[in-house]
């Protein structure tokens, strides 16, 4: 019997690391040309981005079903585990609702804690990985959940997008609407705050966006963990990582990739950084 962490695929949690840390990632769904795919299961990132730029209609996404969560929780509870289930911001997705409804089917006494992280993607990855570490030090899933909730504010997420087009078409642009439209090419930098997307800066090209991203991270050091994520340009992510290599030991870095669900909103050539600041 142990405490197990559950999340959803909007965390973009690397599959290998999930396996290593016994983390269950419940897939969200992506619908392309009327066919529904489970994120990361039926559809890889490479396939997705190829379809994203060639499909005439923008793909849509949906949260995992209540049933998908029920199955996962049931398995874990039957194995005698307690569950801390950490999810993408409720303001961006209905995932946390599905999880909450699934939990309710097991009654009030079920050992499941559901957390709306207010984060997404690499930011959520940070919270989930920190939670997995906490399970090694604690025997109380409530205690782990309380600590996770308390630490959520330590994680900052910055996104540098090539275009706001996908975020806008997908209806997740939030307050970053203010940055939509400029006759000049800009590479908008956005952040997540209070569970929503907010505008931050408008550098004029990719190089300056990269420079500002590293500066924004450095302003929040010392770091406890760092994550870098990309949609299509692995080399850019590697470049960012090498620029920040002196901030943390190698093992505290996570490099991930925007999966189909997030990719549908950030689009090609997107980069993201998350930093969990030391308290």
């Amino acid at each position: 019997m142990a405490i197990r962490i559950v999340t959803d695929s909007a965390s973009d949690f690397p599959a290998e690391l999930a396996e290593q840390l016994d983390i269950t990632v419940v897939p969200c769904n992506v619908v392309i040309d009327d066919v529904s795919y489970r994120d990361g299961v039926d559809l890889t990132a490479d396939e997705f981005y190829q379809r994203l730029t060639s499909s005439p209609r923008l793909p849509t996404t949906s949260q995992p079903s209540v049933g998908a969560f029920q199955t996962v929780y049931q398995d874990l509870l039957e194995q005698g585990h307690d569950v801390v289930s950490i999810h993408v911001s409720g303001k961006l997705s209905g995932t946390v609702n599905s999880a909450t409804q699934a939990k309710a089917t097991f009654g009030d006494s079920a050992a499941i804690e559901i957390i709306d992280s207010g984060l997404a993607s690499i930011g959520l990855t940070m919270a989930v990985r920190a939670a997995a570490k906490l399970t090694q030090q604690s025997t109380s899933y409530q205690e782990v959940a309380a600590q996770v909730r308390q630490d959520l504010g330590l994680t900052s997420v910055f996104l540098a997008l090539d275009t706001l087009e996908y975020l806008q078409k997908g209806g997740r642009i939030g307050k970053a609407q203010a940055f939509v439209g400029s006759l000049l090419s800009v590479k908008p930098i956005l952040t997540l705050r209070d569970g929503e997307v907010h505008p931050l800066e408008r550098p004029r090209n990719h190089q300056r966006a990269m420079r500002r991203m590293t500066e924004l991270v450095r302003e929040r050091t010392p770091a406890k963990q760092l994550g870098i994520i990309y949609s299509t340009e692995a080399a850019w992510a590697a470049d960012l990582r090498s620029q920040m290599s002196n901030l943390l030991p190698e093992e505290e870095f996570i490099t991930a990739r925007f999966g189909p669900v997030l990719g549908n909103y950030v689009g090609p050539k997107a980069l993201g950084i998350a930093i969990t600041s030391a308290r």
């Binding site: 307050k175 203010a178 400029s182 006759l183 000049l184 408008r202 090209n205």
Partner: protein, 559 residues
């Protein structure tokens, strides 16, 4: 003549204004830089116009005190101030009004006191007062009046003191080139200073009984003695502010409200909800209204509910831009929302630049710039229409900066105005892109000023006359490349001027160059020159924008 009655003061100021109206073109021609931005005379005239019309009205209608006449001119000038010289002139009148506050009539000692207050107000209007400008002229007048009174020479005769003032202003004007080397080099006297001389001279001649519409003040420009027969004719009963109206929309509606205890701020605020191009001046008994509205009937009903209406005039403006008008009417149907958030208002010359600022997040655009300096009232109206609780104004021109600062100085409880002091369009674009509607005004102002400071601005324009600048002789027709407002290069074509200005700045592959091509340039030529820039520094990013600005074939920024 021991004292000036209120109506006599009003007539004298009106005469000064009429003289300014006649002399505006020679004053316009007095600019140091041979760039097509000479509009000091026009700016001063437009600044003074509304207040003078208003005080002439008040003086006719009833017994007006000297204090009230001065106040009316000052209030009108405050709202209509445009260009740096206009802002200084408006502060000059503000000082005059303070000096005559509560005075029934204007006696000799009052005149001296008024000029002393006017000098202080004018010097305070600019952050860094420079001698050899209209400030010097105003100060010398105040000093001459004081010393004349100390010597008891005038026996308190107002006409004689006015003569003292006028001749002191002329002497001071003649000295401006020796105080300011750039005037000396260009072979001109200060334009704003001449404006003061013309106003005082017109008033003086009127007081002596001369016809100011024929008078020859015997002034000279770089081109030689001004021929009074070549001056612009005075537009008798000219349309109220016909030269200053920026939008061609709806019905141009003008009327005068006469009543008791009129609340001009309230009237301005109420009418701003449905009107454009507002010019509203007056006091608690007379309010002159000039607005562009969709429904003139509603505006007249509003006015008649507050007092008696007079001088009603309604014109249907031609709809020059159907798209804009359509969008505008749709917007007008929305109910007025409470002011909220931080909004940006930018001053932009040209359709392309207006679109760029709009696209970059500006809530309202005031058309204007180098030769079309907007007034305080236009900036305040745009701020009102932006709906922001706080508004940051981007003047984007050094000639608009003071006007913006004066606009921010107005009293208003529901909206506070700030100015990001951008002196060029490229600075303004960089500042607009640094704006974040979610940050505080302090954070935004800091980020925007930093962004503006991080770009080097280049402007290319054509010399409109022969002159010498910084030791370099410039011939009419030459293309000048200005870097950060200073003449850097002279070439035969706009493209050559642009390229040499850019190489003066020094380009590297890390730079981003943005080219804004003007109304008289085209995309093809801009693309060709962009290619040359890319060849000069491989890997450099060159972005092109159709700016549509007049007079300047290219604006460019390097960042």
């Amino acid at each position: 003549m021991d004292v000036l009655q209120g109506n006599e003061l009003a007539q004298a100021l009106t005469a000064g204004f009429r003289c300014l109206e006649r002399y505006r073109d020679p004053i316009n021609a007095l600019n140091v830089y041979p760039v097509p931005d000479g509009d000091t005379g026009t700016n001063m005239m437009l600044t003074m116009r509304a207040g003078v019309e208003q005080c002439a009205q008040a003086a006719q209608a009833e017994e007006a005190t000297a204090g009230r006449v001065a106040r009316l001119v000052a209030d009108g000038a405050f709202w209509e101030a445009r260009g740096n010289s206009g802002v200084i002139l408006s502060q000059f009148f503000k000082g005059i009004a303070q000096g005559l506050e509560g005075k029934e009539v204007c006696a000799g000692t009052d005149l001296a006191q008024a000029f002393r207050a006017a000098t202080q107000a004018a010097y305070r209007a600019v952050g860094n007062p420079v001698e050899g400008t209209m400030l010097t002229v105003i100060r010398c007048v105040a000093e001459a009046l004081e010393s004349r009174l100390e010597q008891g020479g005038a026996d308190g005769n107002v006409l004689s003191l006015w003569e003292t003032a006028y001749s002191a202003s002329r002497e001071a004007l003649d000295r401006t080139p020796s105080l300011l080397p750039k005037l000396q080099e260009a072979g001109v006297v200060d334009a704003g200073g001449m404006g003061i001389v013309v106003i005082l001279g017109g008033a003086y001649l009127h007081l002596t009984g001369a016809d100011v519409d024929q008078a020859d003040l015997g002034l000279a420009t770089a081109a030689g003695q001004i021929d009074p027969t070549q001056l612009a004719s005075v537009s008798v009963e000219s349309d109220f502010l016909d030269a200053s109206v920026e939008s061609e929309w709806g019905y141009c509606t003008q009327f005068l409200i006469q009543g008791d205890n009129l609340d001009i701020d309230r009237v301005r605020e109420d009418l701003a909800r449905t009107a454009e191009s507002l010019v509203i001046v007056g006091d608690d008994q007379f309010i002159k209204v000039h607005i562009h509205v969709e429904d003139p009937g509603a505006a007249l009903s509003y006015g008649v509910a507050r007092g008696e209406l007079a001088q009603i005039k309604i014109d249907n403006m031609s709809l020059q831009n159907q798209d804009w008008a359509a969008g505008h009417q749709a917007a007008r149907q929305e109910p007025a929302l409470p002011k909220a958030g931080i909004k940006l208002v930018a001053v932009a010359p040209g359709a392309g630049l207006s679109q760029l600022f709009k696209d970059s997040g500006c809530a309202a655009i005031v058309s204007g710039g180098q030769t079309m300096n907007p007034s305080v009232a236009q900036l305040v109206n745009a701020a009102e229409s932006s709906g922001g609780q706080e508004v940051i104004i981007l003047p984007n021109n050094k000639n608009v900066a003071l006007t913006a600062v004066q606009a921010a100085d107005r009293e208003n409880d529901t909206q506070s105005l700030h100015v990001a002091l951008t002196h060029t369009v490229p600075q303004g674009v960089a500042a607009a892109l640094a704006f974040n509607p979610e940050a505080s005004s302090e954070q935004n102002l800091q980020a925007m000023q930093e962004a503006a400071a991080s770009v080097v601005s280049i402007e290319v324009t054509q010399a409109i006359r022969d002159t010498t600048l910084n030791g370099v002789s410039v011939a009419e027709g030459d293309y000048m490349g200005l870097v950060e407002g200073n003449l850097a290069v002279i070439e035969d074509t706009p493209e050559a001027a642009l390229l040499s200005a850019l190489s003066n700045v020094g380009l590297s592959e890390d730079h981003i160059v943005t080219l804004y091509w003007g109304a008289d340039t085209d995309q093809e030529r801009t693309e060709a020159v962009a290619q040359q820039i890319e060849e000069q520094a491989s890997g450099i990013q060159v972005d092109l924008v159709s700016g549509g600005q007049p007079h300047y074939p290219y604006f460019a920024s390097v960042e």
